[in-house]
Amino acid sequence: MTRRHSGERGLALLAALALGLYLVFLVLPLLLSLRSSFTDENPLRATNDFVGLRNYTEMAGDDQLRASLVFTLTLAAGVTLAANALGVGFAILLDRTSLSYRVMRTLAFLPQVLSGVIVAFVWQTILTQNGLLNTALTTIGILDEPYPWLGSPTAALISICVVVTWVLSGFTTVVYLAALQSIPLELHDMASLDGVHGTQRFRTVTWPMIAPGTTISVTISLITVLKLYDIIAVLTGGGPANSTQSTALYIVKLAFTSDRVGYASAVAMLLLALSAVVALTVTGALRRREINL
């Protein structure tokens, strides 16, 4: 009895610690930010005034905010689709047990463990005008002159999409691999006996059975891109001409370049609400799909 009570106390202590950390590092900053969003807080002023909903109404006419939201949502949609498609493909290729496949699984996950800043610096050396990609393509004669991979709004969007997809595909591969390995072998055996192979087996057996993995992978991919800051900050800095400015990047610029912490907090609240709505909607739809399958 004493040992059980002691164990329960230990667990309660750990739970309290976790709850405390959650409150201090997540809930409290969130509440402070919410309060700030109703003020004209400026990092260089000692006092702030309550401005009611002014920051929220201002957002309606903010062209930069609108552009950043369009960019962020476009990137989120593109990256989520691409990273999950790649994740499924890689997972199927790596769903073997030999040592070489286990090594390749580790390699596939590598981009996910690298810091976003390091990833962006590495890709910058590849994608700039004098970078490795242009050097290679011009040397072998595919391009006559270097292409501005980061120097035009469309190319920069696609370049960022490729880099973030590369990073996230490590995560999605691992999720889909786990989902594939949870499919009972009997199902595959039965499908073989029924003469179901290849694409048909993927469509009728594999795809429905990895639905829980899809829900997790798609939701986390979306949330990751909706709050993306580091890779874009290093790779393009939001340029050219703010065309790759994510909403997270815009928030930081508002707060520490334009000195508008109050307005930045309001935009952060909008991003939080948007992320929540998107994540809940997508999760709900994918969960319903799991049940229907």
């Binding site: 990092p43 260089l44 120097g151 001409a241 610029k253 707060a255």
Partner: protein, 427 residues
């Protein structure tokens, strides 16, 4: 048996450390041998690297007994934004290198230097004046931008002399392009570098005719949408439309733009005079410079009073901080390094270039002549740190406009955005 005492010892150690940290008031006491610790925000560039800062701090510290400097390096060259983040988290540095004082003075965060000392030591004591006070000693100055050119590429294209006016500049560009030489280098991937031609055009054409344009803008007497500004900015579009920049210039990083220009990939390079520190010594004679050309050929020099560090009004010992700031500012070794590596033009009284023991190139001396000559010096828009500094956020908007105008012909639209951004910033 062993574990419990070990865990207890670790916990005790952690507790002791935590208690020590909690009891510390962060006031800066406790330096080695009773020295007062001051935090000093610096930034690193290829020219001003960690060694430069460490050496310069050591040299100035040696002249100020009782001080210990704790260096803080900004994560990027945007030290203003980092200083604001530090302020927001209650860690505003005691000394701040090359910040924009106008961002911080309104909040009472900076302490001005003693004017008698400023007047006694500097050639242009008012170069950095903000509302009558000097927060950064004007130890040196920059021209932002000048146009640097490659004499060999000019000769290849039949351009026999540096352009004296806008028409000659366009003519030189046309001849260079006809010869298959990229006329103008632009490190457009870095917003500040992308803005250089626009800074040159606006400073020369608009501020060159009305030195008080920025003060008038603050007073609402001028606007970016004004006809003279539109006409000036259209000249930038002329350069773009005629293909005088590399098509992929917005993908070129600032650092790459330097190597491309010095490597002979482009004939001209509008850049701040800090570029002089990057001119290859072994072929320095191959490069020349001229001021951004005006329509009538009159010389307008977009000028920035550079300098050293600002002092936090919140520093525990502001007198000691000012002593350190003075020692650093007047230390000839620091100026020597700044002249040689950062192309800084020294502005300390009663000293010639020779007094610093520097070895400078001819193109440096030619450029420096524009500082010492009596000519039309105006504030370089977006770079001035005195009363002509732009309001917070406007620099970014200006840079973005420069990048946008590389791909868009909507000059009026971009200038309206600047007026809108000014209105928001001024609220």
């Amino acid at each position: 048996m062993i574990r419990k005492p070990l865990v207890a010892a670790c916990m005790a150690g952690l507790l002791a450390l935590t208690t020590t940290a909690a009891c510390s008031d962060g006031s800066g006491d406790g330096g080695e041998g009773g020295a007062t610790a001051l935090t000093y925000l610096v930034f690193e560039t290829p020219s001003l690297d960690a060694t430069f800062w460490d050496t310069s701090i050591a040299a100035a510290s040696a002249e100020v007994p009782g001080v210990r400097i704790d260096k803080i390096v900004a994560p990027s060259t945007d030290r203003d934004a980092y200083a604001k983040q530090l302020q927001q988290s209650g860690q505003f540095p005691d000394l701040l290198q090359s910040i924009t004082p106008s961002n911080f003075v309104g909040a009472g965060l900076l302490k001005p230097y003693d004017k008698t000392w400023i007047d006694a030591n500097f050639l242009l004591p008012s170069a950095n004046t903000l509302k009558g006070e000097v927060y950064i000693p004007p130890t040196n100055s920059q021209i932002v931008p000048q146009v640097y050119y490659n004499k060999e590429l000019f000769a290849q294209a039949g351009v026999t002399a540096a352009p004296q006016n806008w028409a000659e500049f366009l003519d030189a560009c046309a001849k260079l392009k006809a010869k298959g030489i990229n006329p103008i280098e632009l490190g457009g991937a870095d917003p500040f570098a992308a803005s250089m031609p626009l800074v040159g055009i606006v400073s020369a054409d608009v501020l060159g005719k009305n030195k008080n344009w920025l003060q008038d803008r603050y007073a609402g007497r001028t606007a970016f949408a004004d006809a003279d500004m539109v006409t000036a900015v259209r000249k930038y579009r002329t350069l773009v439309d005629n293909g005088y920049f590399d098509k992929g210039a917005l993908g070129v990083k600032y650092a790459d733009s330097i190597t491309r220009f010095t490597g002979g990939k482009s004939a001209m390079y509008p850049m701040g005079s800090w570029f002089l520190g990057s001119v290859p010594k072994e072929k320095a004679d191959a490069f020349g410079s001229f001021p951004w050309p005006t329509d009538d050929g009159s010389v307008v020099v977009p000028f920035v009073g550079g300098g050293s560090m600002a002092i936090s009004a919140k520093a525990e010992d502001t007198a000691l901080a000012e002593k350190f700031g003075r020692a650093w500012s007047l230390n000839p070794a620091n100026l020597k390094a700044l002249i040689e590596t950062d192309g800084a033009f020294p502005m300390i009284k009663n000293k010639t270039l020779a007094d610093y023991g520097v070895t400078v190139t001819q193109v440096f001396e030619d450029s420096y002549a524009y500082v010492t000559q009596d000519n039309n010096k105006v504030s370089a828009i977006g770079w001035a740190t005195n009363d002509d500094a732009l309001p917070p956020g406007l620099n970014d908007a200006f840079y973005a406009a420069a990048q946008a105008l590389f791909t868009s012909d909507d000059v009026e639209g971009e200038l309206k955005k600047l007026d809108d951004a000014w209105k928001t910033a001024a609220q």
